[in-house]
Structures are given as structure tokens and as C-alpha cells.
Symmetry: C2
Subunit: 208 residues, 2 copies
DNA sequence: CCTACCGATCGGTAGG
DNA sequence: CCTACCGATCGGTAGG
């Protein structure tokens, strides 16, 4: 039988996890720079020195969150792509998933996109996760192009265009740039679908 | 004859300006949250209390920078659009200018896109500047659509797609997300042109 | 994991 | 615009 944790005490629990969760909450409330070790410790119900048993310093904790977030996002994308039929649709699903993941996990998203935590020197796993995601994207584009589903643009530019579009939309949602238009997180998926459709068809009229 | 300023002294100079310039430098070096009033004062060569004669608090200084940046960006966009021939090209020039402005003025860009400084409650000019920019964009799209230059999408979605694309690209440059690909600021304009071209033509092949 | 502590830095104000 | 100051908070460590 599992002992119920005492309120605010993690003597026998998973303090590491509790600190990361507290940090996520803090990021959500105050942004990645509003996070402090002390406040995270406070919320986890431990003393201010305790976190340093689990993390070398505050950047180390943030990097763990970044990596966890990247892993979850990759898994989430893979899941959403699995049900699509062809390469183009998987590419698009990847973009839509980018936006919905961000809106559903704004704290992860913000940590993952804070430049100072993204330091590849500090942790090789970061590079690995980025490369993994990018190579799967390139594979998709290569396949789509070979099958004639997309035009013969430079794949690098296409990948970039797709990423900019969805990253930009995600950031606008997460940073509240769209709330003054009455657009909340429930609009994230339909809007992502709409803008990726435009990318697919192009602004210029087609005359069939 | 203008007296040359003594090094690090602004007794008779424009301290307000000097503080804003110092703040811009700080933002460029350490990000919008690395800025402090004291450090700005230090760099301007005055005591730590002096800035409060010119700005109520640190957010007030940041808001002034934000507004200044928005004004400059609007002027810059207008200039770059002036030489274009039709509405579609002006719309595109606006997007490209978004990216090049950001890359050339990363500190302004970062301040302008920091949610906590963007508070419309705190300064009505912020709302005004945003509306000004958005209405000119809508006018462009309306014109382009009437002339049959672009397809009959919902103008809101088109505006959003354009903004996401260029904002996303701008952020990626400014935050260094692209440096690992060997892409520096000199690639900003050509890439902005390339991705906006794809938005115009669409990913799907056209068969003329 | 706690207590107790260091040095550093900050935002902001009083009073001149 | 300066000096002098307040209270607050932080990151991190020593020693247990």
C-alpha cells in the first residue's frame, strides 16, 4: 500500500519530480525568467538548499524540463502523424500538432524556446532531439516530393516555411498576441488547419 | 557650439535618451529580462536613483522602448512598401520588412514581443500602433482580393498566415534558432523572400 | 533534507 | 542628479 504523501512534504516521495512540476507551474505563471529555485523549493515544501541535491543549478533544472518537453512533443507528433495517409498529410499534421502541443503545454513550449536553456554545449541530448525531429521532417518532404505531392522547391526552404508558420502561430497563442481578437486556445487547431491549408494551396488564385 | 559631453556624464545632456539606449544595449546582450534600472543608470554614468526622474519604473521605460520600436517598424514598413507596384507585392514587402527589421533591430523586436510590456491597459498608444498596422494590412488584402490577385480566403486567416510566417521567421533568427544551420542575419531577407513566395504559390504543384 | 549563512543585486524612495 | 538607505529576494554552499 502506498502511503499518501503528507501535504507539502516529499521526504519519501519524488522530490525531483515535485520540483520539476513546481517549476512548470512557475513558468506558466510568470514566464521562464520568473522561475527561481527557492520558489520551486517552497512549493515542493522543502528548504531552499534541497533542490541542489537533484540539480546542479537552475539552468540544469530548466534543461531537464526542456528535454522532457521535447520528448513529449516528439511523441505527440508521431502519434498525430500515424493516422495520416500520405506524406503531405503527415507533414501538415506535424505542423498542426506543433501548435496544439504548444497551446496545451505552454510551459514546456516556453522553456523549449528560451534561447539560454537551449545550449547544445550543456547537454548532448538537446542536439539529438532536434536532429531527430528535423530528419523525420526531411524524410517526409523527400517522400512528398518524389510522389509529386508537392512542387519542386528546395526542401530546406519548405521545411523552414512550415516551421515558421506553425512556430509563429504557436508563439502568438502562447504569448497572448491573439487574445485581443477573441481567439482562445480552442481556436488553435482550426486556425492551424486553416493556415497550413493556405500554405498548401497558395495565396494566388488557381484556375482549374 | 555644442559642448562635447564629458565621458559618462549627462548632466547637461539627454539622460532620458541615454537611459533608453543603454536599455537597448542591455536587452541585446541579456534579453528583456536581463535589463535593470541600475545597470542602465551605471552605463549612462549616473546614480541609481536618477532614472526615476524620467521613468516611473522599469516597466515604464520598457514601454517607451516598445512604442519607439513600433513607430520605427511602422515607418520602415511604409518605406519598403512604397516602391511596390500592387497590393500583393506590398503585402509581401510588409512581411519581408517584418523580418529584416527584426534582424536589424533585435532589441526593439524583443521588447516589442515581450508579453508583459505589451499591456494595453498601461498605455493607449500601444493599442493605437497595433491597430494602425493591422488596418493597413487589411486594406492591402481587401484591395488584392478585389483585383483578383489573391484567392477568396477569409482575410483574417490570410492576415494571420502572413503574420505567423514572418513573425516565426523573425523570432527564429533573433533567438538564434537558425545559427546551427549556418544561417546568419545576411540570410534574413533572401529567406523571407523565399518563404513568402511559397506562401504565394502554395506547396501543391500547379499545372499550367 | 535542514539550518544557517554569504555575497550580490535589485526596485524604489527620502531628502536634499 | 546625488547620497544614503530600506526591504526583499536570489543563487549557492557549509556542515551536519
Amino acid at each position: 500500500m502506498v502511503e499518501p504523501k503528507k501535504k507539502g512534504r516529499y521526504h519519501h516521495g519524488d522530490l525531483r519530480r515535485a520540483l520539476m512540476d513546481a517549476a512548470l507551474d512557475l513558468v506558466q505563471e510568470k514566464g521562464p525568467h520568473g522561475f527561481t529555485m527557492r520558489e520551486a523549493a517552497r512549493r515542493a515544501g522543502v528548504s531552499s538548499g534541497a533542490p541542489y541535491k537533484h540539480f546542479a543549478d537552475r539552468d540544469a533544472l530548466m534543461r531537464e524540463l526542456l528535454i522532457e518537453g521535447a520528448e513529449r512533443m516528439n511523441a505527440y507528433m508521431a502519434e498525430r502523424m500515424a493516422s495520416e495517409e500520405n506524406a503531405t498529410q503527415r507533414f501538415r499534421a506535424m505542423g498542426v500538432a506543433h501548435v496544439t502541443f504548444a497551446v496545451e503545454n505552454p510551459a514546456y513550449f516556453r522553456v523549449m524556446n528560451t534561447p539560454e536553456f537551449l545550449d547544445p554545449e550543456a547537454d548532448g541530448r538537446i542536439v539529438q532531439l532536434i536532429e531527430q525531429s528535423q530528419s523525420s521532417m526531411f524524410d517526409l518532404l523527400k517522400e512528398a516530393r518524389e510522389k509529386g505531392e508537392i512542387a519542386t522547391y528546395d526542401p530546406l526552404i519548405v521545411a523552414l516555411a512550415g516551421q515558421c508558420l506553425t512556430y509563429g502561430l504557436a508563439r502568438m497563442f502562447v504569448d497572448g498576441h491573439l487574445s485581443h481578437l477573441g481567439l482562445g486556445s480552442e481556436h488553435a487547431e482550426p486556425l492551424a488547419i486553416a493556415v497550413t491549408e493556405i500554405l498548401g494551396l497558395g495565396l494566388e488564385p488557381r484556375d482549374p
